[in-house]
């Protein structure tokens, strides 16, 4: 299959169900092959040294090499049927060099000394060819050589080693639970990824990392054929940087939400959520259509995460700010002059947003990024003021940083690494406050749960978000379900209307498993942590239409 078919995944509404025909990158293999160890580190070090030496011999002033084995298992079911099981392995080497002050990149699946040498030489040749068009030489922020180090996602149970039958049985029991509770249709999927990445560079690092991610999800639909209506409710799971232990659904990870059912923290009860989803999808068929107007919004972390992603995560990518994404994703309203001014009020005083690639269990959690920089946490918005961006080694100097933030990523050995969004999270409130307490303080509001329709302009000013579930709040109480709800706002206005944030006990992750960026598009995974948050006086529109 062609690469861009895969990238299609990232372009789908996160809500849209992914068709089982959409396959993974790499060659399809048996499930057993996904658990066989890859090359020993000593062998990878030898191969990496071939690349470093070959590029240097051709005149490269800097080289990094990534030997990557990317393993994926995707399971797709529908009602009583298994629609597809995809096991894929992609193995190869990507080599990036600086020669004549210019980047060059080449990749090969021929993981032999000869293949790697030829690939390194190609990368240098490309750099030299492009040097003619380069106006300013690349300058890298310094990074220490870490020697030979390893980092592994702290998983308890490798999801790829769990028998396929066990996972399929779980998905089919999810489907049965939904059908037994009144759903007309249900699709359920399980996505599992293991990246075995070996990085080496002329700075003296040899970094071996074993990274795991998992995402269980479903879509449940109720139909009223007589009226010609249908409504769906998707899973309230979060994709996580975890092993199969995420599927344990432990009681300690269940949090009763103000709408009277369970939200999930660091493990997920998929069957329980499917039962709730079936009931919700039926309830949605007859829910009251919202009256448009200004409402105070109480946003659940499983919803707010996407708003953070779109209105804070993307606009603070420095490459966007500089114009490198102008022909595709766009640029950013958060221009350098606003940051330089030092007083740009992105949000209210309550808004503290951090970037990190270190939060345990998050999708972004890695030891080192894809240019060998140790990962860390840093502030983006402090007490409402814009204080920083997301920058990698060749951008750090533009914002007067002495080191990279460590957020460089490539989605495969064959893709060139570039700046990608780390986890971007809203810090919880410091005063004790539960979601139920928050609802009590709202006179006229809407409580929104789950990721829905989302759209934002190319500079990230104007956005419109929907959700999975909407509940009307009147005088401190939830009085019923609403439908046809979407809110429209402007990023700065919205974050400045942030009035209250629940405490750390309510803090949960939202995640985007297939986030797209770049041309050709690359996919990455990122988490956004937050607690339930209140935004005052936001414009709500009614999306119901007659056709």
């Amino acid at each position: 299959m062609k690469r861009r078919d895969f990238i299609h995944l990232s372009g789908l509404g996160l809500g849209a169900m992914i068709t089982p025909g959409v396959l993974a990158m790499g060659n399809t293999v048996t499930a057993e092959q996904l658990t066989i160890p890859g090359l020993e580190n000593a062998a990878k070090k030898n191969l990496a040294d071939v690349a470093l030496n070959a590029a240097k011999a051709k005149g490269a002033s800097y080289t990094d090499v990534r030997i990557g084995r990317y393993l994926q298992q995707f399971l797709f079911t529908r009602e009583k049927n298994v629609e597809n099981i995809t096991n894929a392995e992609s193995f190869g080497v990507g080599i990036r060099v600086i020669a004549d002050g210019t980047w060059g990149f080449a990749a090969t699946s021929d993981v032999t000394p000869d293949g790697i040498k030829a690939c390194a030489e190609t990368a240098v040749a490309i750099a030299k060819a492009n040097a003619r068009l380069q106006s300013e030489p690349v300058v890298l922020a310094p990074v220490p050589g870490y020697g030979e180090v390893t980092w592994n996602t702290p998983i308890q149970k490798n999801a790829l080693a769990v028998p396929v039958k066990e996972k399929i049985d779980l998905l089919l029991s999810v489907n049965n639970a939904a059908l037994d509770n009144g759903a007309a249709f249900v699709n359920s999927n399980l996505f599992m990824i293991n990246e075995q990445k070996y990085f080496a560079s002329t700075d003296g690092s040899y970094i071996d990392q074993d990274i795991h991610r998992i995402w269980p999800t479903f879509n449940v639909t109720a139909v009223n054929k007589a009226e010609g209506n249908f409504r769906s409710r998707q899973a309230l799971s979060a994709p996580m940087g975890m092993g199969y232990e995420y599927m344990d659904g432990l009681a300690k990870d269940k949090l009763a939400n103000p709408a009277g059912f369970n939200s999930y923290k660091n493990s997920y009860d998929m069957v329980e959520d499917a039962v709730a989803a079936a009931k919700h999808s039926k309830e949605k068929l007859t829910a009251k259509s919202v009256l448009p107007g200004k409402y105070d919004l109480v946003l659940d972390p499983d919803h707010l995460g996407l708003t953070i992603h779109e209105s804070v995560g993307h606009p603070l990518e420095l490459d966007r700010v500089l114009g490198y994404e102008a022909n595709y994703a766009g640029t950013s309203f958060a221009t350098l002059d606003k940051w330089k001014a030092g007083d740009f009020k992105y949000g209210s005083d309550k808004v503290n947003i951090v970037a990190d690639k270190t939060q345990p269990l998050s999708l972004g959690n890695t030891g080192y990024d894809d240019e060998g920089v140790k990962c860390k946490e840093w502030d983006l918005i402090k007490n409402g003021v814009l204080v920083n961006y997301q920058a990698i080694r060749d951008q750090a100097k533009i914002i007067n940083e002495s080191e990279s933030h460590g957020c460089c990523f490539a989605d495969n050995w064959s893709s060139v690494q570039f700046q990608r969004m780390p986890n971007v999270s809203l810090k919880p409130g410091t005063e004790k406050l539960s979601a139920a307490d928050m609802v009590k303080g709202v006179e006229k509001g809407v409580y929104i749960i789950g990721r829905g329709s989302y759209s934002i302009d190319q500079q990230r000013y104007n956005f419109q978000f929907g959700g999975q579930l909407f509940y009307e709040i009147k005088n401190g109480e939830i009085v019923g379900m609403l439908e046809d709800v979407a809110y429209q706002s402007n990023t700065q206005e919205f974050w400045n209307s942030c009035a209250q944030i629940c405490d750390k006990d309510d803090y949960r992750f939202f995640g985007s498993f297939f986030d797209g960026k770049g041309q050709p598009s690359q996919s990455s995974a990122v988490s956004h942590g937050s607690s339930t948050t209140r935004f005052d006086g936001v414009n709500v529109i009614n999306t119901g239409r007659k056709i």
Binding site: G228, S455, Q458
Partner: protein, 438 residues
């Protein structure tokens, strides 16, 4: 070389089939060269070229199927891949919706391959970028663009005697030009099978004109407007309708084509009678591969005639269940247009908005096909038959079904994303808010 000839492909497929022990086996090989060049801030930032070939085997026992793929085509690798696919198939759960493989089919000779595109090399790509960057830089404008080219082949065969082979090429180019102060932005794009039709300087000139003309956009009130959608903008919304005509979803009651009380709206007049939508794999400007994703020969198919829904997509499984003939998804569609140029459309508009393209389009309600998104890179206010001034971008909430009932005029066709799309003049298009984005 990644492009195998028909004979080479057939030989390999036959060899793989000779190794197979399963009840049914299908083999597909595809490969080719994909190249790209990307530039921004008037400088090339990435370029590359990939050659790859992949052979995929699907083995079936009863209703159990399994697949394996390889990049190496030596006998030993092929043998191992067959064994692997057969192992996976034997372990797979039964698929109650499995349809037996098709026998031999008659496919047309497609015109999807053009030598000019096959000949593209890194120098060509650099020239395309240069021809876009240079004129932009000379006018103190900033260009960001992307070119992707493909030249390759695809072949398939199975143990029931089916065999097909096709070569194809494509080239996609897009460019966004911005003014130095960031107050103006313009976009233009083109795609072809034949690279000799692409002139990146011309495409860039259009984007430059839009960038300069869109400086200092004024805010006008959101609301319902008559809009003139350039073909790119029209396609952005029409594809959401033409790709959503699946019969199974409609029969299941979860589509805009589902009927109240059950059944589908096939045969109903849903749109203005000027709406005619069809597909034709032999169309000279948008030739498509000769077979559908299920292996049937692609044929000229009418989807909408005089506003009436004439066909929906039926998979082989769903068609057999419903007792009808399968209807495959088309390669590209043609929405019939008219003679009017965009200038003619502007001239006849008392008050309206000209839209270059839409952006970040997302489904709001699948029941009504309501979508939201924004205008981008060239939005202009029209009054008394003339473009008056650039306007700030709008967010819209609109359904292509409603649009196709509010047609004022249809313009000349242009190829967009492998489809033939007219410019469209639509009344009462719903803009719901303003955006400051340029």
């Amino acid at each position: 070389m990644a492009i195998l000839t028909k004979e080479e492909a057939k030989q390999i497929i036959d060899k793989v089939l000779s190794y197979a022990k399963a009840d049914e086996t299908a083999v597909s090989i595809s490969g080719g060269r994909t190249g790209n060049i990307r530039y921004a801030r008037n400088t090339v930032n990435t370029s590359g070229e990939t050659n790859e070939i992949t052979l995929n085997i699907t083995s079936v026992y009863g209703k159990r199927s399994g697949s394996a793929s390889v990049n190496e085509l030596d006998d030993e690798s092929l043998r191992r891949a067959v064994v692997r696919a057969e192992e996976i198939a034997q372990l797979a759960p039964e698929n109650p919706e499995y349809m037996p493989m098709l026998g031999p089919q008659q496919y047309i000779e497609s015109k999807t391959f053009v030598e000019s595109t096959n000949k593209i090399n890194p120098d060509y790509r650099a020239q395309v970028a240069h021809d876009s960057i240079k004129p932009s830089g000379e006018k103190n404008l900033t260009a960001a663009g992307y070119l992707e080219d493909f030249s390759g082949f695809s072949a398939m065969g199975n143990s029931k005697g089916m065999f097909g082979y096709n070569k194809s090429t494509s080239v996609d180019f897009s460019v966004t030009v911005r003014t130095a102060d960031g107050t103006g932005s313009g976009y233009s794009s083109r795609d072809f099978n034949d690279a000799s039709l692409l002139n990146s300087r011309e495409v860039t000139t259009l984007a430059m004109q839009k960038a300069q003309a869109s400086v200092n956009a004024q805010a006008i009130e959101p609301g319902k407007y008559t809009v003139i959608l350039e073909p790119t903008a029209a396609f952005d919304l029409m594809r959401l309708l033409t790709s959503g005509m699946d019969a199974r979803s409609a029969d299941e009651g979860r589509s805009f084509l589902s009927k109240k009380g059950g059944g589908t709206r096939l045969g109903e007049k849903l749109f203005d009678e000027r709406v005619n939508i069809y597909s034709d794999p032999t169309h000279p400007e948008i030739p498509s591969a000769p077979w559908t994703n299920e292996g049937f020969p692609r044929e000229k198919t009418t989807w909408v005639e005089k506003g009436v829904v004439k066909n929906m997509f039926y998979s082989r499984y769903w068609a057999s269940k419903q007792g009808v003939t399968p209807v495959g998804r088309p390669g590209g569609v043609i929405i019939e247009g008219g003679d009017q140029s965009i200038a003619d459309m502007i001239k006849s508009t008392e008050r309206g908005v000209l839209v270059t393209r839409f952006w970040y389009i997302r489904a709001v309600d699948p029941q009504t096909l309501l979508y939201t998104g924004l205008t981008r890179d060239g939005t202009f206010y029209i009054e008394d038959g003339q473009i008056k001034f650039p306007v700030k971008n709008f967010r819209f909430n609109e359904s292509p079904i409603i649009m196709l009932n509010n047609i004022e005029a249809l313009g000349k066709l242009q190829r967009v994303g492998g489809n033939m799309i007219p410019a469209m003049k639509i009344r009462d298009f719903t803009f719901t808010s303003l955006s400051d984005a340029v």
